[in-house]
C-alpha cells in the first residue's frame, strides 16, 4: 500500500464514517491483520468504540475477519474496497440508466447499508419512492421486487456468504466462517413480498389511524422472523466494473470507426456479459451468425456487411476483435493516450504513441518520425524521462560500454508508466478531498448561519408567515456573505466534479494494471 493510497483511504473513511472508524481503519491498514486487543492498544480508543467501529466496517465489507488456528480472530482491512467508495456515485448513476428509479434506489440503499436482506431493501425503496410520488399514490412492492430480481439476474447484486448450519450441541466457534457457492450467488429466494410503500410524516388522518394500528401490531407480529431471514444481498462491484469496461470499449471503437461498428462490438459484449468471468481478458468466442441474430432491431444491415465490419475490427492494429471472435484489451492503450494528451499536450502524445508502436527509438529517429523540431522533441523527451514515463535503454557497441560508442534508445515501459500515473491519481484525489474539507471548514460559521436561516424560513412558511417577515429573515444574510456562500458552493462543486473525473481515470488505470498482471 503506497502512502498516497493510505492517505486517500483514511480521508474517505473519515468523511463517510467519522473519526473513530477512521482511526481503526488506519491502524488496520498500516499494520496489517491483527486481533482485537492489539487494535485497542494501538488506537488508544475505548474497547467499546473499537468494537462499534469494527461492526460498521464489517457490515460494509471493508474489513474481513478470520479465525486463527489458536482461536483468536484477526481483522484485516480491504484497501481496494475502501477506495471504491469514491466510485459510489458512478455505480448509482449506472443503475439509474439501466433500471430506472427503483434500480437506482435499490443500489443506493445497498451501498449505504453495506448489505441488506431483500425484504428490508424492497420496503425501504418503496417507502422512498412513495414519498416522491403525488399524494394518495403509493409504490407497490411488486414493481420494486421485480427490479430487484432483474438486478440479481444480470449479476449486479449478489448474495452475501452465508452462515453455516451449526450442528446441535456443538460449541459455537468464536466467529462464523461464511461461505457461499458460486452458483448460489444470484438465486433470489422464492417468496412474494406483498405490500405498499408507506409515507412518512404525512398529515392525513388515516395515517394517524394506521400509526395506532401499527403500534398494536408489533406485539403480535414480532414473533415471526421475516421470510428471508439470514439471506443478505450486496452490490457486485466487479460486475459494474465490467460494465464500465464495456462502455469504454464501445466508445473507443465508436470514435475510431463509426457508429455501426460500435454497435457490433456492443452486441458482442452484451451477449457475453454473463458468461465471461469478470477478470477475463477475452470473451468467449462468438460466431458471426449469433451476432447477426442478436443485433438490435433497428440495425438492419445485411449479413455480408456484418462480416465486413468484423473483418475491419479484426484488422485494426489495436486488436479490439480477434479473428476467432474474442475482444481484448486494446482500449486501455487508447484511453491512456487520452490522459497523455491532457497532461503533456498532444505533441507528447504523438511521441508516446510512436514509442509504443516502435518499441525502441533513438533520439534522432524520434525527431524524424514524429516530425517535431529537434529542440522541442528533446525537451519533451527529457520531461517525460524525468517523470519516469519513458526510460533509456543502453545498447553498447563495444564490450567496454564506452559511452561514446553506445546506443541510447528511448523506450516506454507501459506497465510502470501506468502505475506511476495511478499513484499520481491517488495523490490528486486525496489532495482534492483535503482542499474541499479545508474550504468547508473555513466557512463553517457562515454555512451554519445559512442553514439556520433556511430552517427558520421553512418553519415560517409552514406556519404561513407574510412575505414581509420572510424577507426580513432572508436579509439576515448580508450581500457579501451571500456572495461568499456562492463562491464556496461553486468551488466545492468544482472540486467534487474533479474528484469524479479523477476516479474515472483511476478506474481505467487500475483495470489496465490488473490486466497486465494477469497476462504475465
Amino acid at each position: 500500500m503506497t502512502q498516497a493510497e493510505l492517505r486517500l483511504c483514511s480521508l474517505l473513511l473519515q468523511e463517510h464514517f467519522g473519526e473513530i472508524v477512521e482511526k481503526v481503519g488506519n491502524s488496520l491498514l498500516r499494520t496489517g491483520p491483527r486481533p482485537l486487543r492489539l487494535l485497542v492498544g494501538d488506537t488508544g480508543l475505548l474497547p467499546d468504540q473499537v468494537k462499534k467501529a469494527l461492526c460498521v466496517l464489517i457490515q460494509h465489507n471493508l474489513v474481513r475477519y478470520e479465525v486463527q488456528p489458536r482461536g483468536s480472530v484477526e481483522y484485516e482491512a480491504r484497501s481496494e474496497r475502501i477506495l471504491r467508495i469514491l466510485r459510489y456515485p458512478r455505480y448509482i448513476y449506472t443503475a439509474k440508466t439501466l433500471y430506472g428509479d427503483p434500480g437506482e434506489l435499490l443500489v443506493e440503499e445497498l451501498l449505504l447499508h453495506g448489505h441488506l436482506s431483500m425484504s428490508c431493501a424492497v420496503s425501504r425503496v418503496a417507502d422512498r419512492l412513495t414519498e416522491t410520488m403525488e399524494d394518495g399514490k403509493t409504490m407497490d412492492y411488486a414493481e420494486v421486487s421485480g427490479t430487484f430480481v432483474r438486478l440479481a439476474d444480470t449479476h449486479f447484486i449478489q448474495r452475501c456468504p452465508m452462515v453455516p448450519e451449526t450442528p446441535q450441541g456443538a460449541a459455537a466457534p468464536p466467529a462464523p466462517t461464511l461461505a457461499i457457492a458460486e452458483r448460489d450467488m444470484y438465486i433470489v429466494p422464492r417468496f412474494s413480498l406483498v405490500g405498499k410503500g408507506k409515507r412518512r410524516r404525512s398529515c392525513d388522518e388515516e395515517e394517524e389511524g394506521e400509526h395506532k394500528a401499527k403500534r398494536q401490531k408489533p406485539e403480535g407480529g414480532s414473533s415471526e422472523p421475516p421470510l428471508d431471514d439470514g439471506i443478505y444481498w450486496q452490490v457486485n462491484l466487479e460486475r459494474f466494473h465490467q460494465h464500465f469496461r464495456d462502455q469504454a470499449l464501445v466508445s473507443a471503437v465508436g470514435s475510431r470507426m463509426d457508429q455501426t461498428s460500435s454497435e457490433v462490438v456492443r452486441t458482442m459484449l452484451r451477449m457475453s456479459e454473463v458468461t465471461t468471468a469478470s477478470g477475463a481478458s477475452h470473451t468467449q468466442p462468438l460466431s458471426s451468425n449469433e451476432i447477426f441474430r442478436s443485433l438490435p432491431a433497428g440495425y438492419n444491415i445485411g449479413k455480408q456487411v456484418l462480416d465486413q465490419y468484423l473483418a475491419l475490427l479484426a484488422d485494426d492494429p489495436l486488436e479490439f476483435v480477434g479473428k476467432s471472435g474474442d475482444s481484448g484489451g486494446g482500449t486501455y492503450t487508447v484511453s491512456i493516450l487520452w490522459e497523455w494528451d491532457s497532461m503533456f499536450g498532444s505533441r507528447c502524445a504523438r511521441i508516446f504513441r510512436l514509442l509504443l508502436r516502435k518499441k525502441h527509438l533513438e533520439q534522432k529517429q524520434v525527431e524524424d518520425f514524429a516530425m517535431i523540431p529537434a529542440k522541442e522533441a528533446k525537451d519533451m523527451l527529457y520531461r517525460m524521462l524525468s517523470e519516469n514515463l519513458v526510460s533509456l535503454q543502453e545498447i553498447p557497441k563495444t564490450p567496454d560500454h564506452a559511452p561514446s560508442r553506445t546506443f541510447y534508445l528511448y523506450t516506454v515501459n507501459v506497465a510502470a508508466a501506468a502505475r506511476m500515473l495511478l499513484h499520481k491519481c491517488y495523490k490528486s484525489a486525496a489532495n482534492l478531498m483535503e482542499r474541499r474539507q479545508h474550504e468547508t471548514r473555513e466557512n463553517k460559521r457562515l454555512l451554519e448561519k445559512s442553514q439556520r436561516v433556511e430552517a427558520i424560513l421553512a418553519s415560517m412558511q409552514a406556519t404561513g408567515a407574510e412575505a414581509a417577515q420572510l424577507r426580513e429573515v432572508e436579509e439576515m444574510i448580508t450581500g457579501p456573505e451571500r456572495q461568499q456562500l456562492e463562491t464556496l458552493k461553486r468551488n466545492v462543486n468544482k472540486i467534487d466534479t474533479s474528484e469524479n473525473q479523477v476516479d474515472e481515470t483511476i478506474f481505467v488505470l487500475e483495470s489496465f494494471v490488473e490486466s497486465t498482471m494477469k497476462r504475465l
Binding site: E15, Q49, P176
Partner: protein, 212 residues
Amino acid sequence: MAGRGRGRGQMTFNVEAVGIGKGDALPPPTLQPSPLFPPLEHRAVPLPGGEEGEYMLALKQELRRAMRGLPYFVKPGAPRRDIERYSDKYQLSSPVDSAIDWNPDWRRLPRELKIRVRRLRKGRTAPLVPKQNITPDKEETIKKLESLEKKEEEVTSEEEEEKEEEEEGKEEEEEEYDEEEHEEETDYVLSYFDNGESFGPDSDDNGDEAVY
C-alpha cells in the same frame, strides 16, 4: 584519478548522443526550492459538464449528507462537561458510546464484538419519566419507552425490521421534542410538572430505606 581537475565541463559520454549539442546553453543552476505553485503549462482539461456530470455531482453530495445521518457514522461521545449540571438529566443525550444504533445480524459477526448495554437501563428511564407529563400524547411516550427498552436488550435479527420502523418514528419524536425544549428556553415548565417521582428514594431499588 588522472582526469580529475582537467576539463571541467567534460562528461564521460558523448553528449551529442543524448542530444545536447556543442554550445547549447544548459539551464542555469537552481538556487532555491521549487515554487509552491508552479505555473501550469497546459490548461487542465475542462470538467465534464452536461447532465451526467451534474447528476453525479448531486449524487455525490447527497451520499455524503446521507451517510452522516446514518447510524454507521460513529460520532465520538459527547465531551464531558467540567461540572455536572442539573439540566443534564433532562437532556436527551446522544447515544452512549457503547450502544449500537442499528442491529447487525450478530450471527454473522465474531462473538467478541457483541456489546451488552444492560446496565444503562436504569439511568435512561429516569429522565424520561417527567417527560411523560409534558408530551400531550402519552401513548407515544409509552411506545418510545418500549422501543428504548427493546433497543437496550440484546438484539436479534427478528426485530430488525420493526426496530427500523420504530427508530424512524422515534427519530421524529426526538426531533419534535428537541424543538419544544429549545423553544421553551425556561426551566419552569420542566420543574413545574415534576410529579415527584424523582424526589425521594428511587422507587425501584431503595425502597427498604427509611424516608426522612
